[in-house]
Each structure stands twice: as C-alpha cells, then as structure tokens.
C-alpha cells in the first residue's frame, strides 16, 4: 500500500458503514441517536480527507450537532408523552401489522435496483470527469471573494442559496403551526455545573461563529457554518434556562426569521434595478454585498435554528394551565 493514510481511510470507511448499520439496528432509540451523532462526526472527518472542509464543518455543526439536539429533544418529548420516564420506554415498541410478502419483495427489488444504479454510475464515471472546476477558476477574479465554495454559494449559484434560506423560513413557520398549542415536556434541570459551562463557553462560541463567517471569504467557513455555531449559543441559553422565550419576543423573532431572506432578496432587486441580472453583482461592490448578505443571513440562520430546536411558538399561557394547553388550544382552533 503506497499511502499509509489509505489504511486510515479504510478503517474510517469500515467504521462509518458499521455505525450506519448500528444506528438502524440497535433497539434503544437513545442509543440509535448517539450512534447517529458519532456516525455524522466520522463522516465529517472523511469529508476532510476528501478535501471538503467546508462541507465537513457544515455537516458537523448542522447535520450532526443541531440535528442531534433536535432528535434528543423529540425523544424526550415522546417519552414524556407516553409516560414512561426512563430508558425502558421505547424498547418494547409494539410491532405493527405484519408486512405482506409482495411488499417486502418489491422493496428489496427497489433497493437492489438503486444500489445497482449507483454502483454503475460510480464505476462508469470518468476518474476526473469534466467538472465545473475550470469555469469556477475562470470566474473567480470577478466573484469578489477568494474562496471558491463561498463564491459558488453567494455569487455564481446565489439563487440556490436564496431558496435555501427560504426553505429554512418555511420550516420554522411550519413547526410553529404544527406545534401550536402542543403541551411541552418539562425541560430537564441541568444544574449549576452546566450553567457555569454555558457562561464560560458562550463568549467563545460567539467569537468562533463570527470568525467562521468572516473567514469564509478566503478560507473554509461561511454563513451557514457560522450561523450553526451561533445557533449553539441559542441552544446553550435555552438548555441552561438563561433565556426563556417570552410571548412578547415573538415579533422580534419573526423579524429575525425573515431578515435573511429579506436582505438577500433586497440585494437581488437592487442589483436588478441597476440594469443587471439578479445576483450579477457589480465587480467593485461584490465583496461588500456578499459580506452584507452573509452577515445578515448568519444572524437569521442562527435564530431560525435555535427556534427550530425550541419548537413551540412562545404563546401566552397562565402558569397553571400548561398541561391542559394542548386540549384548549385545539378547542380554540376548532371554534
């Protein structure tokens, strides 16, 4: 074996596949989520090996960190609702009706077909096929930033990124609607040690998030990675109960959700007003515009991700009626 790192790659690949299998086969749901988080972090490591540090950062922060927090929160809620407080809760899932044999065969055939298609596509692809490398390299001087991934995200393919921010906005609206009037599982008390940890790390996280955002213009990093790191501030504040969402904060939160999409679209319209195609930034202002969009979008992403974690819209509720809120909420909706 010519490259000693190939051994590392092989071990990592085996570990990733084994963790994927274990995530779906382990009985305890809590263990499944923990295994998934480990799987996500190792995948991020593999992506660093494939020289994709931007994607690895995004996967570690958003795909694994925030997603893992969301999954654990949901599991906590499910266990609270089913009234079985501890580990034994989800272990004995009642199996549904037995699946008919033809369905199993159809599923197996479908999966086999997809596997075959992927394998053929992978083996048949040219080793270093014609990509967009040359096009991107050629257009880089006009992009206003030095890092190609940031240039693609916020200049060459800015439409995609705008739509992505819209998807996030849609998600938070949907979650607020779905959870309307839903009674909430009481958050666990994490104690003074965690509170101290939160107080100690909060300033560092803020600095790190801002650094990632700023650095994104010339090196791996950017709005999404920075936004996810700043969302961790929100998660820590919520978990340590240093911040409790109040109904009166809703207008502010709504503004923050819309801010990213709004600023992004406003820049596009402004550019169009100058007789250009949307997102065809004038070269001399490109960097300013990109950093402006990135800064605003980062704040928006951070608030949105934290709100997705918190879930329920903070509506006014008398302290005593919290457990019955679910029912009265529905009654209100029906009437």
């Amino acid at each position: 074996m010519s490259d000693p790192l190939a051994i590392f790659d092989l071990l990592l690949a085996v570990a990733i596949v084994a963790l994927a299998l274990a995530t779906l086969s382990v009985r305890d749901l809590f263990a499944a989520i923990v295994l998934f988080v480990v799987f996500g972090l190792l995948s991020a490591l593999a992506w660093v090996r494939l020289s994709a540090p931007d994607v690895a950062l995004a996967e570690a922060a958003i795909g694994t960190g925030v997603t893992g927090a969301l999954l654990l929160k949901t599991l906590h809620h499910l266990r609270h609702v089913t009234g079985t407080p501890e580990r034994a809760a989800m272990r004995g899932m009642t199996p549904g009706a037995p699946v008919p044999m033809p369905v199993i065969w159809a599923n197996a055939a479908f999966c086999g077909l997809i596997a075959l298609g992927l394998a053929v596509a992978f083996l048949g692809a040219p080793a270093a096929g014609p990509g967009f490398d040359a096009l991107v390299a050629e257009a880089m001087p006009r992009s206003g930033v030095e890092h190609p991934v940031t240039a693609v995200l916020l200049n060459f393919r800015a439409y995609d990124t705008l739509m992505e921010v819209v998807v996030l906005l849609a998600a938070v609206i949907a979650v607020w609607q779905i959870e309307r009037g839903l009674s909430e599982a009481p958050a666990p008390v994490l104690g003074e040690v965690f509170e101290g940890f939160a107080r100690l790390t909060l300033p560092a996280i803020v600095v790190l998030g801002t650094y990632l955002l700023w650095k994104g213009a010339e090196a791996p990093g950017g709005a999404f990675q920075g936004g996810a790191v700043l969302a961790a501030v929100g998660l820590l504040l919520l978990l340590a109960r240093l911040y409790v969402p109040q109904p009166s904060h809703r207008p502010l939160a709504r503004w923050a959700f819309v801010l990213g999409t709004g600023a992004f679209a406003a820049v596009a319209l402004l550019v169009t007003g100058g007789g250009r195609v949307a997102f065809e930034y004038p070269a001399e202002h490109a960097k300013t515009l990109i950093l402006l969009i990135e800064g605003v979008v980062t704040i928006s992403i951070a608030v949105t991700l934290a709100a997705l974690f918190h879930g329920r819209e903070p509506v006014a509720m008398a302290p005593g009626e919290a457990p019955a809120a679910s029912r009265s909420g529905e009654a209100r909706d029906a009437g």
Binding site: P85, V193, F197, T201
Partner: protein, 102 residues
C-alpha cells in the same frame, strides 16, 4: 528531534485513549466507565494536543490548539458530570420505586 518527540507524545496520547476505550467496554457500571473515560481521555487529549503543538508553524496555531484543548476538556468534564448526575438521579428513583413496590 522535535518531530520524534511530537510523535512519541501523540502515540502516548493514543495509548491513553485506547485505555479509556477498554475501560468503557470492560467496567461494570456507569460511574467506573465515566471514571476511566474522562481521566484517560483527558490525559490522552492533552498529550496529543501537546504533540501537535510541537509541530505547529506559528504561535497563532499553538494558541488555537491550546484553545481547542481547553474547550474540549471543559466540555467533556461537564458532559461527564451531567451523565453522572443523571445516572445518580435515575438510580435513586429506581431505588425508591422498588422500595415502594415492596
């Protein structure tokens, strides 16, 4: 010379990580496992960070490695504390439940 020292430190750190993992797998209950894991991994991480810092090009890099070490150590200590506290709470609840049943 610095390279050999760095490699030695990192290898030693890896040994501590392996010891911690063995402890995690072999010890009987949550507290022993946590003990093995937090102690061994804390030391292993410190040794690896030191080894990497020896090979750093600039002072800025050393500083960043130091920061990483500090925050990972604080986070793992807090995580260990939370797991232990939770285990103790659920142990106590389980004990009360059994006492109630009897």
């Amino acid at each position: 010379m610095a390279d050999i020292l760095a490699a030695g430190l990192m290898a030693l750190g890896a040994v501590f990580f392996i010891a911690g993992s063995v402890g995690l797998l072999r010890f009987p209950d949550v507290y022993c496992r946590l003990h093995a894991l937090t102690k061994a991994d804390g030391l292993g991480l410190a040794l690896i960070a030191l080894g990497v810092a020896l090979r750093a090009d600039s002072f800025g890099e050393v500083f960043r490695i130091l920061l990483i070490w500090f925050f990972v150590a604080v986070a793992s200590a807090t995580g260990g504390h939370l797991i232990a506290a939770h285990a103790r709470r659920s142990d106590r609840e389980a004990g009360e439940g059994e006492a109630g049943n009897v």
